[in-house]
Structure formats: structure tokens, C-alpha cells
Symmetry: C2
Subunit: 663 residues, 2 copies
């Protein structure tokens, strides 16, 4: 393999108008953290065991499952060897080992342990946490059932208290009640927090949490009454043994119900919980969603890195007869595919940071019992989770398709990124459900506004006075841009709210009226999220204290993000004349100009994320741009090439040949 960098890519790097290192420092929170990240990654990638791992694309499902446990082991070992205690640094190890893969036992650390910490009594924590932290007990969190997803009250698994023996009897009364999907449930965990419907003294008391042993701690064999297994191959994340679980009248001791809040006494008397439990659970949910938003930036940035570097080295079609073929990045259509997505990676990065900050503040208020801002944060994170995951997943596919035929090969790394990105549209709250939750809150705000109540700051732009005209001109003043996005969002909230009222007045019940408005509610929620992202991006690039060349490059990206969003949704911005035809035409020209402005910095803007070749795992996205040699090497390594004549030849092909055919 040539070690030199492809000259096309080298030239791109030299052309940049700013120093990429400064941007990298900014992305990773300073020069020191950047260096730590590099050092840790180098330690991982130079580890002898790492070198022996079979390439992902050539792994069977068995290999993937086995590797993911091996990697969990390696992570533990490396963390020890490198003496890493910081959580963020531990995360770098996992990210390096398991880029776009499920990290083995992740659910144990992220869900099983925290649930016990949050919902367990002091006694229960003393019992379970040491076992969990030393991995004697390895657990998962089982909520979703085969027939039940988002709607918690629909869960069917029962936990019926038997005062005679002081036990709960866990049961799966129907096929739809079996737990389905929990991570690592199939083959890996020996324990589980189960969400089940509590029944005691003949009455049902809603959904509560129970710790249930599934496998023998020593032999790992399934315990009596437990039917558990892997749910089979999926679009992606095949290293994860997402599982199913049926209970056949399984008895657990009374103190396996997590009883920090709700309680069942020895005689079966139920004591209701305060709402604290729910609120704490909310906290975890908000935290996970905030984390997902930040994650979408990295995922999309990986795809952009691959597609942008490839667009610099791939050449196609001579510009002048007999002349050299053009870099595909010089085609406006290619720029239009990639550059708004590069802008989006930065937009989402800033958005993730901002809601994380938001979360930290509000969470400390929650812990103090101040719940005032919870609904606002909940509405915001629900919608942003949907908005960012959907845009990122679609964006990854745009990147993949922008790589032409080679984008379809696993050699590109892009299909793997897509399958790991798209699942985020579904888990932790299905996106349409998320938008509708946000929208419900927006309509509430609209009604508060009508009642002249003060609106929460994030949504203070909601109004029914929408008669103005935009003063947006070719200077692309940021305030005018924000005003246009606010106008669009407010208009769509108003339209959805009025539609609900219309149906209510027409005699429909609230469910029907809302349902008949839900297309418009989703539009409103999207517009509000989009506005939040645009505003955050603008605030960030105008307030940031950084090298002026970097600032200027980010400002161009920010303008591109905002302008592209207005073009993509031009109807929503212009329908009532707030933006007029002349302004939209001006934006179309500006879009073309901005793409040319980004062109010179495109490679450096993706380089700044400093994804290692190992993380990208892509022949097309290599730092050195030697894509063709890498593709050739990938092809030669294909297991089908282990023999010159494949074993199927004698079995089928020779048969076909000698029999002739009417094909």
C-alpha cells in the first residue's frame, strides 16, 4: 500500500483558509483533551490483541457476537493498563474499539445499574450494586414487549404477590406479553430489571420494577420457568444479542421489587409512590435523549468525512474534451449533497452541547424538587431527538449514495454507519411519537399565549400575530434569519392549534380533533426544532472566542445551514408572503455562492473531527486518500476468494453446465 497521501487530498488540505488544529481543539474541548484522545486511540489501535480482530465486514453473526464480548474484555484491560478512571476517557476506548457497534454489556452500565441506584432501597443497593459492579451479576433492562412499545400502560407481564410465601409470581400471560428487544438479553445477561404490572390483594397497581435472575451465576444455564433467547438477525447491530424473555410463573422474593418509592408490605398491602420515582426516571430519559442528539453529530460527521474525502479523490468526466476528469467535489450537485450536511454536523454538535448544559441545570433543579422547567426540557429533547436522528440518518444515506457504486460496498463503511444511525429514529422514543409529544406542548404554549400567560423562554416566539414581512436581503443578517424561522414556526403552531379548535367546534372529541391535526402538529414540531438548531448555531458562531479564520469558516457554514433550510422548506417560509419570491430567488443564488465558499475548506472541516481510519473502517474515507488500493485489498480479502474454484462449482454450476438449460 502506498504510504503517500493522494495529491488531490493533499492539495485540498493546503488550500484551507484556516488552521484545522484550532477547530479540532474546539471540537474536543481544548488541546489537552484532543491530545489525550489521540494518545488513548493510539494505545488501543497498537494493542496486539486489537490487531488480531477479524475485520467487521467478514464476520459471521457468531463472530460479531463473540467479538463484542472480547472487546468488552479488552476495554476493561486497556482501561486498567492505561490507568483510566475518567468516564469520558473510558468512552474513548469503547468508541475506538466499537465504532458504530453496540458496546458489550453497555446496557448493564447504562440501564441496569442506574435503575437499581435510582429505584432501589438502601438495602437493595447494598445487595445488588457490589454484585453488579464486579460483574458477578450482569443485567439488562426489560420493558418493551413483543406487542407493546411506547405505551407503558399497555404492558402485560404480571407480577402477582403471594403473601403465603412472600413472593412475587412473574408471568407472561400471552404471546404479546413476552419481553422482546432488550439488549444482551438473549445469551449474555444472567439478571434483569423487569417492568411488570403489579397485582396484590386482587388489585392491579400499575407498572413497577423487579429484579429477576435469569441464569445460574456459575453455569450460566437458564433457570427454571425462564424462557430466554436471541431474537435473530437484524438490519444492523448484529453483535448485540437483543433477546426475548417469557416467564412461566417464576417466583422471586418480595424484596426483589425495587421499593424506594412504591412498596408492597409482607401482607401484600400496597403503598403508592410519590411522583419522585417517575421524575427520576424522566431524568434518565432526558439524559439519554440529550446524549443521542450529541451522538448524531459524530455519526453524521463520520459519513461526511468519508464522502468528502472520496469526493476529493474521485474523478469523473472530463470538463474540456481531452482534459483531465474533474474531482467530483467540483460538481455543484455533489456540493449540494455534502456541504449542507457538513454544516449540519456542526449545528448538531452545538445543539447537543446546549441541551446538555440545559439538562445539567434543570436536573440539579429537579433533584432539589424544583420541577418548573421539566415540561419545557421534555418537549425540547423529545422533538430534538426526533429531528436530529432523522436528519442524521437521512444524511448518512445521502453521503453513501454520493459515493456511487462503491458506497454500496461494506468497503465504504457507510452501510454500517447507516444501520447504526437509523435505529436511533426508533429506539428511546419513536420519532413520530416524539414529535407529537413536542407538539402537544407547543399547542399548550399557544393556548397560554392566548390566555396572556408568560411563555417559557425557549418557546416565547409563539404568537398569533403574524402579519409582518421579512427584511431579509442578500447580506443574510442573522437576526432576519432567526425572525424568518420564528415566523414559520409560530405560523405552523398557530395553524395546528386552530385546526384542533376547528374540529372540537365541529363536535369531535379531543382525541379525534388532535388526530385529525397530527400532520400539521408534526410540521409545527419540526419547525420549532429546526429553529432551535438554527438559533443555537447562530448564537454559537457569533459569540465564540476563537481564531478569526476559524470563526469565519464556521460563519459560512452557519449561513449555509440556515439558507439551505429555507430553500428546502420554501413553501413554509413564503406561503403567507413573509418571504417573497424575490427573496427566495436571492436565497437560491446565495445557496450556490455559499457552496463555493465552503468548497475550499470542505476537507479540512471534516478532517477537524479527526476520526481515525480504524474508526471509519472505510476504504473510501482513508486519511491518505489511497482509496483504490484499499478497495483492491478489501476485495482480495473476501472470504469467497479463499479458493480459486468455489466449492459450489461442482455442486451446482457444473451440474447446470452439463445439463444445459433453457434459462
Amino acid at each position: 500500500m502506498t504510504s503517500a497521501v493522494n495529491p488531490d487530498l493533499e492539495r485540498e488540505r493546503k488550500r484551507a483558509t484556516f488552521n484545522g488544529e484550532i477547530l479540532t481543539d474546539f471540537i474536543y474541548g481544548g488541546a489537552h483533551k484532543k491530545q489525550r484522545r489521540r494518545d488513548i486511540q493510539n494505545a488501543v489501535f497498537s494493542d496486539p490483541e486489537y490487531q488480531t480482530l477479524k475485520p467487521w465486514a467478514f464476520c459471521s453473526r457468531e463472530d460479531l457476537y463473540s467479538n463484542h464480548l472480547q472487546k468488552a474484555n479488552m476495554a476493561r484491560r486497556l482501561q486498567e493498563t492505561l490507568n483510566i478512571t475518567d468516564q469520558e476517557e473510558g468512552f474513548i476506548i469503547r468508541q475506538s474499539l466499537c465504532s458504530n457497534e453496540y458496546f458489550g454489556l453497555g446496557v448493564h452500565g447504562f440501564m441496569f445499574i442506574p435503575t437499581i441506584q435510582k429505584l432501589g432501597t438502601e438495602d437493595q443497593k447494598r445487595k445488588w450494586l457490589p454484585l453488579a459492579k464486579t460483574l458477578k451479576v450482569v443485567g439488562t433492562y426489560a420493558q418493551t414487549e413483543l406487542g407493546h412499545g411506547t405505551f407503558l400502560r399497555g404492558l402485560e407481564t404480571t407480577a402477582t404477590y403471594d403473601p403465603e410465601t412472600q413472593e412475587f409470581v412473574l408471568n407472561s400471560p400471552t404471546i404479546t406479553s413476552m419481553k422482546y428487544w432488550p439488549a444482551n438479553l438473549g445469551k449474555t445477561v444472567n439478571c434483569c430489571v423487569v417492568m411488570a404490572k403489579l397485582v396484590t390483594q386482587g388489585k392491579s397497581h400499575g407498572i413497577h420494577s423487579f429484579v429477576v435472575s435469569l441464569r445460574d451465576l456459575e453455569t450460566h444455564k437458564t433457570l427454571p420457568g425462564i424462557e430466554v433467547g436471541d431474537i435473530g438477525p437484524k438490519f444492523g447491530f448484529n453483535e448485540n444479542d437483543n433477546g426475548y424473555l417469557r416467564f412461566h410463573h417464576v417466583r422471586i422474593p418480595r424484596d426483589h421489587m425495587l421499593m424506594r418509592y412504591a412498596k408492597v408490605a409482607e401482607d401484600g398491602t400496597f403503598t403508592s409512590a410519590t411522583n419522585e420515582g417517575t421524575i427520576l426516571t424522566y431524568g434518565t430519559m432526558l439524559f439519554v435523549r440529550a446524549m443521542i442528539v450529541t451522538g448524531t453529530s459524530s455519526t453524521l460527521a463520520m459519513a461526511c468525512t468519508i464522502a468528502t474525502r472520496y469526493a476529493a479523490v474521485r474523478r469523473q468526466t472530463e470538463v474540456k474534451p481531452g482534459g483531465p476528469e474533474a474531482q467530483i467535489m467540483d460538481y455543484q450537485t455533489q456540493q449540494y449533497k455534502l456541504f449542507p450536511l457538513i454544516a449540519t454536523t456542526y449545528a448538531f454538535r452545538f445543539t447537543g452541547q446546549r441541551i446538555n448544559d440545559h439538562y445539567t441545570t434543570i436536573n440539579s433543579n429537579i433533584e432539589k424538587g424544583n420541577l418548573e422547567n421539566l415540561p419545557e426540557l421534555h418537549a425540547l429533547t423529545a422533538g430534538l431527538k426526533a429531528f436530529c436522528t432523522a436528519v442524521a440518518a437521512d444524511g448518512v444515506e445521502v453521503c453513501r449514495l454520493a459515493c456511487g457504486g462503491h458506497g454500496y460496498s461494506h468497503a465504504s463503511g457507510l452501510p454500517k454507519i447507516y444501520t447504526s444511525a437509523t435505529v436511533e429514529c426508533t429506539y428511546e422514543g419513536e420519532n413520530t411519537v416524539m414529535y407529537l409529544q413536542t407538539a402537544r406542548y407547543l399547542v399548550k404554549c399557544y393556548n397560554m399565549m392566548k390566555a396572556k400567560k408568560t411563555l417559557p423562554p425557549t418557546f416565547s416566539y409563539i404568537t398569533d400575530k403574524l402579519s409582518g414581512k421579512s427584511d431579509l436581503d442578500s447580506k443574510l443578517n442573522f437576526n432576519s434569519i432567526i425572525e424568518a424561522y420564528e415566523h414559520r414556526a409560530a405560523r405552523l403552531v398557530k395553524a395546528a392549534a386552530l385546526n384542533i379548535s376547528f374540529w372540537m367546534k365541529a363536535g369531535k372529541n379531543p382525541w379525534e380533533s388532535t388526530n385529525k391535526s397530527s400532520i400539521q402538529l408534526v410540521w409545527a414540531a419540526k419547525a420549532c426544532c429546526h429553529l432551535f438548531v438554527v438559533k443555537t448555531f447562530i448564537n454559537q458562531v457569533t459569540s465564540i472566542d476563537i481564531d478569526p479564520n476559524v470563526k469565519s469558516a464556521l460563519t459560512v457554514l452557519c449561513r449555509l445551514y440556515a439558507v439551505n433550510g429555507m430553500i428546502e422548506n420554501m413553501g413554509q417560509f413564503s406561503l403567507d408572503g413573509f418571504l417573497n419570491e424575490t427573496q427566495i430567488n436571492m436565497l437560491t443564488r446565495k445557496l450556490s455562492d455559499l457552496l463555493e465558499e465552503v468548497r475550499v475548506n470542505a476537507v479540512t472541516l471534516v478532517d477537524a473531527f479527526e476520526f481515525s481510519d480504524n474508526e471509519l473502517d472505510s476504504c473510501l474515507g482513508r486519511y491518505d486518500g489511497q482509496v483504490y488500493e484499499a478497495l483492491y485489498k478489501y476485495a482480495k480479502s473476501s472470504p469467497l476468494n479463499d479458493t480459486d474454484v468455489h466449492s459450489s462449482f461442482q455442486k451446482y454450476l457444473a451440474l447446470l453446465k452439463y445439463q444445459g438449460s433453457k434459462l
Copy 2:
């Protein structure tokens, strides 16, 4: 497995306002053909060998490759046993065996043989065709190179004539010149038509076709100088051994150049081809693109069948406290995802039929040497190929995501449909390149219009007089709809054409001027294709002679397709005021009404395609709606469940446990 049909699904079928059988007859070209399709499928699915095939989702790459040859064998056998000679009926066998998979040796029949037929001399045909038809020789078609896709003149493989030995020397001078991607090239074929740059008497004469042997006809071993292999795992179609091929100075006899048109004499004298060869090649390309368009309808219809049936049986969230959970199909957001796509399947089916008819007419003209309509058909098929494949692939993902978490499992069948749909956006002409080809022709039409020349009928709406207002009202008159789509298309063509002129006047060269307008050119091409589909759909439902209830259901679908398209692109319809705010708001209400009108027939509209459960290979899309039992069965069959305790336990998990962890 329960044999009864899920009552929710049964009720949906009973509710339909028309007889689905009539629609099925229509789709498959009459009651007789429908019955033949059923009979052939039954014969395939009841075949004992068919029953032994390993389920697709549980296959390794090796299994997939081997199975695809086995299936080719089975197809041959079944075709013989069932005494099938009709090509269309042969296709039903393959479709039944290889739903959404590559059909083994497909490229041999579709590309290798036809190329020899079209470009070979009589002598060459006498030599190769009997060998090819009896499968002594199995071939593929090698055009694309590692570094070269769409741009034919960029191909680097050389065929240099040596008059001394009267041979051509085939060579791959660079790494980028190796052939890459041809179907079945890696392990299966023993022969190949190679597109290579002809060099004779020291001069290069462009790209020509050569028949090259790759493997020994008896032993199947690679011949000297040939380096050939599989290119490795891909996003989908892993049963196909797409291959790479390098020539190391491989000599072939002079008469292995296909010489019906261009010729090289014994002394190396080159005789140029008339343009007939190119035209015939064009013919194949147009035929393939027309076939792709028709195919998008089936692919999308499969995804719609799965998602729609699932939406009828899946229930989520009680509508009234304590009441039953609603069928998810009753949610407007779900209807908005699925029903416009159901409409699209019908729209694309009619579109495919129409361009096939168009192709047949024009092709017979071409054979007679009348090339008048070729550019029009070429522009049309290029754009429609891009439009239909992109919409279908996106639509399949919408269906998959509409099935929530279970859509992510291979049990849903949807990931497989997606990976087979999305590749069509790239092969046989990358979509953006296709749109730009169409757009170039549209601009040509615009200039013809300016020069007062007659426009080809398909594009006669192109004009620069665009001052009117639409009279569209809530009656949704079809003529007003067509007029609105024509106005939008004409406006976008005009805008793109003017933008090119603007840059030309500003001193840019034609390439730059076109490149700087290419975003707008793509918009124009999409709008023209969209219009063609809408118009075709409207013409079909207004002229069709069929049972009035069926006609009425199709008419609702047609309106939904048109209205949804206007809403999705409202900016393009309303920016210049052709449609005004009131009209757009009316369309938004109509969208909601039309979704409710489709609701009652949704299941029957997808049932009418009569995809068998075997073709769909989906737990969610089963005809009987017993989705949960099927998912449970799928899970239990997962190979990871072959043992209770997985072999990785001792190797990694036990290790982790006993060492404890800082995870």
C-alpha cells in the same frame, strides 16, 4: 401456528368498497394470467427442494452464494417440469425463488448473450451463442472499472492489436483500470464481454467489446494472466459474487472482438462503425431503464403490503382511558406515511406500462432506422429511472420505520427490500447523472421553444409565458391539477435555462454555466418526471374500463398522489402565486380527507398485488396477520439459540465476571 386470520385484518378485508380480485386481474393483465401466476407460484413453493432452503436471514455469505446457484438450478428444473416456455412465466419462477435477491446467472441471460447477439457478426453468433445457451460458456458483461463509472470514455483497459500473431493483448495498465462490480464475475462465470480501449497501428480508436475467456471450461480454474475474484460483502445482494478482474497481458484471437460494426482487419486496419452500434446499445439501456421503472412499483408495493397489514394488526395507546388500544392505522400520521406510498405504487405501475409501450413503439422505429424520437425517450427514461428508484427506495424506508422496532429486524423482511431497492439509485446510471441528462434535454426544448420550433409531445408544456393563476378548487378537477404540475415544471425549466444564460453572459464557459445551474436543473428534471407520472396516473384512471367501485378507489388514490405531491412541494407550486395560500390550505384539508377515504380500502389495495408470504418473507406482512407468533418463531430459530449457553460464555464472559471490572 394459529391458522386463523387475525380478526383485525379480516375486518379490514370485509370493509373494502370494491372487489379486490378485479383489481388483481387488472394488475396482472387479466384473470387467466393471474391464475397462471398463482399456479406457478404454488408449484414453486410446494417443491420439496424449495422446502429445504435455509431461511435467508440465517444464511452466511457462503450460504447465500451457494443457494443462489442452487436456485438457478431449481429454476431450470421447474421450468422444464412445468413445461414453461413463455419468458414472462419463467420470470414468475425466478421472482418466486429469489424475491429481492439477485437471480443466479441473470447477467448471463440479460447482458452477456444479448451483447453477442447485438454486436457479434454472424460467424461470432454461430460460435458463441450455442455455447452460451447450453451454459458451457457462462458469461458476464464487464464495463465499470475500479476508478471509472458513468464516463465511458474514461475506461482504461486496453486491447492492443498485434498483427504478428493476429491477437489482441488485453491489459489493465493501472490499479484503477481493473474491472470492478460486474455481476457473477468473481467466482461464477468462465467468460466475459469486456469493454476496452482499442489500440491498433499505434492509434487509439475508442471503446469496443471483446469476448474473453476467464476460466477453464472443464476445471473452472482461472486462466493464465487473469486475476479475478469476488469484491467482498456489500449492503445487500450478497448472493451475487460481483467481481474484480485484472488482465496481465492476456492474448485473445482477433475474432474475439465483436465486429458486427467496427472492425479490425488482419493487418490491423481499423474500420469505423456507423452509429448503429451505439443506437442498438442505447436500445438495451432504454429497455433496462423501462424495466427498472416497472420494478420500482413491485418493490414499493411489497413494502407497503408489509407495513399496511402490520398497521392493521398492531395496536398502540388507548384512545379512551381504559378502552382498547387503537390500530396504528387509525393514526393520521401513520396514514400519511403509508397511503401516499400505496398511491405511488399504482402511479409507478401505470408509468412503467406507459414507457414500456412507448419503448416498444420507438424501438421498432429505431430498428427501421427512424431515430427521431430517440432523444425524447432517452430524456424521459433517464429522469424517470432516477425519480422512481429514489422515491421507491425512500418509500421502503418509510414503510420500515413505520413498523417501529420490529421493522429493524430482518424478521420484518423490510431491510432486505431496502437494500435491494436502494442499489437501483446507483446502477444503470447514477440518479443525479440521470437527472442532469434529462435536464440538458429540457433546456434544449426551452431553447427550441424560444426559437419557435415544435416541441416533442411529452414536453410541449415548456414555455416562458407563466403569468396565469390556477383555478384549482376543492373539486380537485384533474385538468386543473395537470395545469398546476405543468406550470411548476415549466417555471423550473425556465429558471434553470435563464440561470445558464446568466452565467454565459457573465463570461463563464458552458461547462461552468451549466454546473452553476445544476441544482436548479435537477429541480426542473424532477418536476418534469413528477408531472409525467401524475399525468399518466390521471389518464389511466379516467380512461380505464373497469368496475366502477374499483375505478372510484383508484381515483381517490390518484387524487391523493397528486395532492400529496403539491403539499410536499408547495413552495414550487406557490412561489410565483400560481397557487395561492387559500388553495394550499384547501389542499392541506383535502389531504386529510383523502387519507380517510383511502383508510377503508388500504388493506385491499395492497392485497390486490397478491404477494405470497414466501415472496414477502416477513413476519409482519403475513396474509394471516399472525405477526407475533411468527416473530416468536423467528426468534426461536435464531442460530445463536442453538445452545442454551453460548460458547463465548467460557471464553469471554466468565473471564470478565471472575476478574471483576471497572466498566
